[in-house]
């Protein structure tokens, strides 16, 4: 993975940089020992590691502003970091950068149930946002699988989704406002506890900008009332096409499930061996969950099951109680862990139009045979966000590269059928070099304009998202 050449002049100025940071931060917030900084050398894309020059852990917006001002004045690039759970290398450092971690900024600042919002410091974990409001019958909807650990800051940077987003939307649909610190230290309040932008939708472009436009230190988030209840149903089919058709029919019937999850045979087998959830051994499996009162749940499920029966399922399994519901979800929730136990794997994140599902699955199967690498498919069927898990052996020379080549081909296929490279995880470094598959030069240039305006010095997370040759002149300036 190509990264920019480290700036030797910045490295040489490390003592001055550390001294300047220690003037604006307490000692325990500045990490510069060569061994200690290694804790920040990677995120969840562990194949790529590089210790930063310095790591800082500010506690307040004004500390963040002071840090950025120091780095701006000294021309030092900054890589923001939430919890470091990015699967795309979003928080991967360069050797000449400062990692700015917001993990110590995790307070709840304000909860307002009548107006249905919560304001938090951005280092707070996703699940603990719901944790702060659930006793009052509310929750925060976007729920990435890493929600126990991932931070709101990262969620905003990547516009994270999760299984609930079919019904409730992704981060950008639930974000009301941010406190954003620009690279020169300017602190801006954008949005707030009211709906819609008063002029241009800056909040909308900040969300998903992968830490390249500013550092979000506080966020105002929409909270929603918890439904009365929820229940899943499990369906097994003897082909991917039939499962895909069933998904389509459920959607067309006017039922809006809160989640529709899809697993194929390789995934089912691996998961069953690991979690022993009692899944049927079939070609394709759907888990559909609906919400409402017990009577409403029954009514929605009877519509869904009637549709499923028209597709000759090999199995239909309802949950009679809470335990059975948990068992239905058990396999799906252990899927990544199950795959990880068998093998090293690479998880892709390409999204496709739901109608292309059977074709794409067939092509992935063909490519799997061509590359000689197994693939298991698990994904959010309702919105076409696929997670092909490509299995490889990290100890076998060349296997990682082969796996990456296979992954790149799968993502090209996603774009080919009218989808995109990444539905939830973001571009980071992982898909940076595939951006030209999805965007023409003029399309990318328009995105670069936005960064030109927010961060004219190009110091915030400069090596991410866009191919290095496309950003070279801006980064050099």
């Amino acid at each position: 993975m190509e990264m920019p050449i480290v700036d030797a002049a910045i490295i040489a100025r490390k003592p001055a940089l550390v001294a300047a940071l220690l003037e604006v931060l307490p000692e325990d917030a500045v990490i510069f020992d060569e061994v200690a900084v290694r804790a920040y050398e990677c995120d969840a894309l562990t194949a790529y590691r590089c210790p930063p020059l310095v790591a800082v852990l500010p506690r307040t917006t004004s500390e963040v502003s002071a840090v950025l001002r120091v780095c701006y004045q000294m021309g030092v690039p900054v890589v923001p970091r939430g919890s470091g759970t990015s699967l795309a290398g979003g928080a991967l450092p360069t050797g000449d950068c400062v990692i700015l971690g917001v993990a110590r900024m995790n307070a709840v600042l304000e909860t307002d149930y009548p107006n249905r919002f919560i304001r938090v410091q951005s280092g707070r974990t996703n699940l603990s946002v719901t944790g702060a409001v659930e006793e009052n019958g509310f929750f925060y909807a976007p729920d990435p699988s890493s929600q126990l650990a991932c931070a709101i800051a990262g969620n905003i940077a990547m516009n994270s989704g999760g299984a609930h987003c079919l019904k409730y939307g992704v981060t950008t649909n639930n974000l009301l406002g941010v406190t954003l610190v620009q690279m020169d230290g300017t602190v801006l309040e954008i949005g707030g506890a009211y709906m819609d932008a008063g002029s241009l939708d800056l909040l909308g472009v900040i969300c998903g900008s992968e830490g390249q436009l500013g550092v979000v230190t506080e966020a105002t988030l929409r909270i929603l009332p918890k439904p009365e209840g929820a229940r899943p149903v499990l369906m097994g089919f003897d082909s991917n096409e039939v499962a895909g058709a069933c998904v389509s029919d459920i959607i067309k019937a006017g039922v809006l499930p809160v989640a529709i999850e899809f697993m194929d045979r390789p995934c089912i087998e691996a998961t069953e061996a690991f979690a022993k959830a009692g899944y049927p051994m079939c070609e394709a499996l759907l888990i559909v969950e609906v919400e409402g009162s017990p009577a409403e749940i029954d009514a929605q499920l009877s519509v869904i099951l009637a549709i499923a029966r028209r597709h000759n399922p090999v199995e239909l399994r309802e949950a009679a109680d809470e335990d059975q519901a948990k068992r239905i979800w058990l396999g799906r929730k252990s899927a990544f862990g199950a795959m990880g136990q068998i093998n090293d794997y690479m998880c892709l994140d390409g999204t496709i139009p739901v109608s292309s599902l059977p074709y794409v699955l067939r092509r992935i199967g063909e490519m799997s045979r061509e590359y000689g690498l197994d693939v298991a498919n698990v994904f959010h069927a309702g919105d076409g966000n696929m997670h092909p898990l490509i299995l490889f052996d990290a100890n076998k020379p060349g296997d990682l590269e082969l796996c990456e080549a296979f992954g790149a081909d799968v993502l090209r296929l996603c774009v080919e059928v009218g989808g995109c490279l990444t539905g939830e995880h973001g571009v980071g470094i992982e898909k940076r070099d595939l951006m030209k598959v999805q965007f023409a030069p003029r399309d990318m240039e328009a995105q670069l304009w936005v960064k030109d305006v927010f961060d004219p010095a190009w110091l915030l997370n400069p090596a991410k998202v866009f191919p290095l040759d496309v950003t070279a002149s801006r980064r050099a300036a």
């Binding site: 709906m195 939708d201 023409a440 003029r442």
Partner: protein
Amino acid sequence: MKPADEADLAEMIRAAYGPLRIVGGGTRAIGRMDGAEALETSGLAGISLYEPGSLTMVAKAGTPLVEIEAVLAAESQRLAFEPPDMRGLLGRQGTSTIGGVVAANASGPRRVQVGACRDHVLGVRFVDGSGTVIKNGGRVMKNVTGYDLVKLLAGSHGTLGVLSEVSFKVLPCPETEATVVIHDQNAAEAVSAMSQALGSPFEVSGAAHGPAGGSAGAGGEQGKTHLRVEGFAASVAYRCQRLVALLAAFGEVTVEADAGRSAMIWQSIRDVSAFGDANAVVRLSLKPSDFPALIAGDLAETPAAGHRFLLDWGGGLAWLAADAEPVAGFLQRHQARCAQVGGHATLIKGDVEGPYFQPESAGIAALTAGLRAKFDPRGLLNPRLMG
């Protein structure tokens, strides 16, 4: 100027030498665009793709909204954010286009539950002020590939680019609907009731109050509060029953169970029909609990004036009719209040010399000016419209 297709549009903009006024149907434009040459988008029309099973439609920007809604209705689907028909309110003629809907981020009562127009747009093609065709987003809901310029273009009122094609998410129509009505509430009671309803698990898809206000003295007229419930018939009946019980403490609560009559209530709220006779109308976006103090302040300031208001989005959207005071002062007073408490006020109907949109803070203004300089360096596209 009326381009026949996207390439034509790009060429016309490239060759333009003066400010352009972007016109879709002309039904929802805000502000004054004096002396600018009209660029009509109605020639870029037609639905390019519609996949009901994927909940996706792609249409050229000049496609009439009515055409899109008819095609969707035939498959029992709809634009869930219910774009308003502004012609009655603004006294205009014309055929609203989907491009205009997106450019204005036009969103009706259901916005409070399902999100605004911008939350349903999946992709855009547009021509910037230099005549370059740019695309962003695509056809899928989950898309975090690069920066989200779709959100930036939505609600930009044509000032960053002229939309040529939009892709959007559609949703199924429910089997039926009903409306819970709380009679005789003032502003504070209404906001309180709507907050309770929206904080309940009964999936309220519209929460509005009014119109109310009118003559002062007693603090203005009381209005009705409306809460919409949509879905399968049994579910709607159940949820209405639960809401009636929940809100009983507020006084007389009834249910309009006839779906047709319920729909008419919400169409009237959506289109702000009550204020068609107003000289000027200001649209406020604010935190719902800030509204009662705001309207009380208005009453205290000018007790003799009308102070008619209509609340939507649970109180997060307020329409104020200026009946008896000069528009400029009316607008400025509300923009100042929004600057104080958070939110924004826009002049939707009426004429002023100054800005129609809420003035921005210095830091934000620097960013929006910077973006306009990039996307429209010659300042051709609806210049100075948004401030």
